[in-house]
Amino acid sequence: MALFPFSALVGQDALKQALVLCAIDPSIGGVLAFGDRGTGKTTAIRALADLLPDQETVGGCPYRCAPSAIDPGCGYCADPSQRRTALAKAPVVTLPLGATEDRVLGALDLEMALAKGEIRFEPGLLASAHRGFLYVDEVNLLEDHLVDVLLDVAASGRNTVEREGISVVHDARFVLVGSGNPEEGDLRPQLLDRFGLFVEVRTPTNVAERVEIVRRRDAFERDPEAFKAEWWEANIALQADIVAARTHLDRVETPDAVLETSAHLCIALGTDGLRGELTLLRAARALAALEAKAAVEDDHLLQLAGPALSHRLRKDPLDDSEASARVGRAIETVFGPQ
């Protein structure tokens, strides 16, 4: 299946920005995209697969170990002769509807166990998503216990399986991306704030933009290869920016003044806990790195306050008085009228 080029996506700036920032710094903690049907959430997220830079892996390793950071528990890489470095695409794994726990976490390899009597662990989707993205569409319809597991592993970066006499722990660091349609049911509020960034995807109301979307879709459908070739350069340029930002990330300074502003912002909004503040700072640093700035600036906080904080406001489930409006008011309090 041909993928729509990421750089050819029209609009959806907040979602694209959130995804790119997570590609730069996976510790931001993932993205939750909520919005109506037919707004192209899925297209945008799948398009990531062609955008992410290739990565070095140990060829054939089922846990996608990096040659520079081999998981000490990895059975495959335990044998040094196996360690051939290979270049692979960063994974964007989609969790299919109705996936069960054994295939997500990994489980006893039944075929091996039954045919040869060998006890072997068969890695699941979490292993396949290691060092990449794991996408869950309609996350609000997913079984509660699976959502819990996903968020837990995404936060810890380790997957622990204890079942059927198997005891396995392996690295599973991935960016969790969820999408959903609020019309089909809300996400449990306690899960909302486990996602790093929250983006509301809206249908563009600007006709020129809508025309461009339809036109590009049509061009892509008629000749996917030609269309992709047309956007190849833009994709490569964005990819190069991501690579550059990753190396630059550690050098980005976070001035005390920015830390203070961020604290003020969170206090003004009454966000629970520190997670919001940490996410805001990490995302702001990634954005500064993307823009090749030496330090985080107030403007970065300003841009990311919405995505990083709007889903962490303490709220009554009935009060849908726009979270974004509340963030806007807090920004005005802290920064003065915009």
Binding site: A113, E183, V207, E221
Partner: protein
């Protein structure tokens, strides 16, 4: 008795003519939709056919098979289980082989063909979601029960929807992926053999030419603008519309889309999304500029534009396109008026399969060891998993498995039955005068409880002529709130109709395996009979009968008397319903209602 006069006869002939020409127009449209679908079956996703089984529908499907050139349809029977649809672990083959054997589902056979989903309105949400996903990606991926399997499934879906009333329809997520929609509910039987506009060969030629058809920018723009002007928020609709326009150009032997193609495509793809308003006139007119193109008034399906439709920059519109859609939409207007739940119910329940129980029996939970229990079905994966580590120890030789009783696991379903709270709200003049505000407040308070418990909530409102299902059961709080806010008040009190509607919802919810709770907030002063023009006395009798029927369902029921003083009529009605009768005190009304419902939910 004298013979009817000439004038009478003329009027009747004119009426018949109108009915027939309407039906002919519907058929013509259906024929175009079929032709377009057969030119680009996968690109258009499929066809939603709203119609009971009828000669008309049969004729349509026969023609589709003929034109599509892909042979017989792949049948997806009503209530097809998810595992059969997409595939998974095969019980029989696994046992035979002594190792897990995966099997592809029905959709594997549907690749590059047409699949026909029977009784699509009863399709369980999980199956609808799988179909929607496969339509979107052209691929099926299974990761469950130890099976990891993927295969292409680029198919075109015909959803046969025999639903009655707005509450019974194909899941919105699936419907949105089918570009075309045909409603044959009101095509007279005698007109079931239309004249088809194309031959099989013409369709095949168009199919071959479709990929090379281009559309000039101006027309792409017009197609998008028409959708905007009709307040259709989804971008999938204009994408489909453009594809349909290209198919029409191909059918007409052209390499480029012309205005006429675009116009026809708009009528085909947008028509059902932009239905004329059938709601009473006191709804605020849609703020879409001068001649306000009517947005959909289907409760719960109203395309919610982000912000108001008025925000769309429509610019210089292609008025022709919009006019075309409006005409197409008018064709459907009769249907929607006749599709009120009350009339649908009155037509009886003789439909095949209406008695079938909902397939959902709670969510699957982790399997547990059978431990001598013999109830429930065997969970093969869990059983194999339990047995696998011990095969060597048990001295297995050859392919046969060595199983012990202790290995046996059975499937488990979490039986936390879902509740569904149905609010029946009296919005008539008498009740609304002082209490509608209280009532809304009370419901709002309750919603936070429903939200915590993840209950389904639906709203039935009654006023004026008849009751209306403002919101079919949903878990989305956002939608309930919108429904509540939009509740209009005033007019007479069609209580009987409200009870009939409530019963329809109760039946539906029971079939879906949910436990319904009916909460009626009214003063009990029903004064409208089910038949238009019925007398007061008939209104009372209808009310009693409807109450008795609702009671027969056995659903829990609560009646909140919203009159100033506890009224004897409300008390009598509560008794007929077998409902707890609670006067709603003026102050702190909300808390009282909330408390009562909470305890009713708790005991349900």
């Amino acid at each position: 008795m004298t013979a009817p006069g000439t004038a009478d006869r003329q009027v009747r002939t004119a009426q018949l003519d109108a009915v027939f020409s309407e039906a002919l127009a519907l058929w013509a449209r259906a024929g175009d939709a079929l032709a377009v679908l057969c030119v680009a079956p996968q690109a258009l996703g499929g066809l939603h056919v709203r119609s009971p089984a009828s000669p008309a529908r049969r004729a349509l499907l026969d023609k589709l098979r003929d034109w599509s050139g892909t042979g017989a349809f792949v049948d997806l029977p009503a209530g097809v289980p998810e595992a059969r649809l997409i595939g998974g672990l095969s019980l029989a083959k696994s046992i035979e082989a002594g190792r897990p054997v995966a099997e592809k589902g029905l959709l594997a056979g549907a690749d590059l063909r047409i699949a026909q989903l029977h009784m699509a309105e009863r399709c369980p949400p999980a199956v609808a979601a799988q179909l929607a996903d496969a339509l979107e990606t052209g691929h099926v991926q299974i990761e469950r029960s130890g099976v990891s399997l993927g295969y292409p499934a680029r198919f075109c879906l015909v959803a046969l929807d025999e639903g009655e009333g707005p509450g019974e329809a194909v899941a919105a997520g699936l419907r949105a992926r089918l570009a075309l929609h045909i409603d044959l509910t009101h095509v007279p039987a005698r007109l079931s053999e239309p004249v088809w506009a194309y031959t099989r060969e013409e369709i095949a030629q168009a199919r071959a030419a479709y990929a090379d058809v281009t559309a000039p920018d101006a027309l792409v723009e017009a197609i998008v603008q028409a959708a905007a002007a009709l307040a259709i928020p989804s971008l999938r609709a204009p994408v489909f519309c453009l594809r349909a326009a290209r198919a029409l150009a191909a059918l007409n032997g052209r390499r480029e889309v012309e205005a006429g193609d675009a116009e026809q495509a708009c009528a085909l793809v947008y028509g059902h999304l932009a239905r004329p308003d059938r709601a009473p006139s006191d709804d605020p007119p849609p703020p879409t500029g001068e001649a306000a193109p009517p947005p959909s008034a289907e409760p719960g399906q109203r395309p919610e534009a982000d912000g108001e439709p008025g925000e769309l920059e429509t610019g210089a519109l292609d008025e022709q396109l919009i006019a075309a859609v409006r005409n197409a939409a008018l064709l459907g207007a009769l249907d929607s008026a006749q599709h009120s739940p009350a009339t649908a119910r009155a037509r009886g329940e003789g439909r095949s399969g209406a008695q079938a129980r909902g397939a959902r029996k709670g969510r699957p939970d982790r399997p547990r060891p059978a431990q001598g229990r013999r109830q429930g079905s065997v969970d093969l994966t869990a059983t194999l998993r339990a047995a696998a580590p011990w095969q060597k120890l048990r001295g297995r030789k050859g392919p046969g498995l060595v199983l012990r009783a202790g290995d046996l696991h059975i499937k488990r379903h979490r039986h936390r039955a879902e509740s569904s709270v149905i609010f029946v709200i009296d919005a008539s003049g008498s009740a609304a005068l002082n209490r509608l505000g209280d009532v809304k407040g009370a419901i709002e308070l309750l919603l936070s409880e429903c939200y915590r418990r993840r209950d389904h909530v639906s709203l039935v409102s009654f006023r004026g002529e008849r009751a209306e299902l403002v919101l079919p059961p949903t878990r989305s709080l956002t939608r309930v709130r919108r429904g509540l806010i939009g509740l209009a008040a005033g007019g007479t009190t069609p209580l009987a109709s409200a009870l009939v509607t409530a019963r329809a919802v109760v039946d539906q919810e029971v079939e879906r395996g949910r436990t319904p709770l009916v909460v009626i907030l009214s003063d009990g002063r029903g004064n409208v009979a089910l038949e238009p023009g019925g007398s007061r006395g008939e209104a009372d009798r209808d009310g009693e009968r409807a109450a008795a029927r609702l009671r027969q369902t056995g659903a829990a029921c609560l009646f909140f008397d919203t009159s100033r003083r506890a009224s004897p009529r409300a008390r009598a009605l509560s008794a007929q319903l077998g409902a707890a009768h609670r006067p709603m005190p003026a102050s702190r009304a909300s808390q009282t209602v909330a408390k009562a419902v909470r305890s009713a939910i708790g005991s349900a």
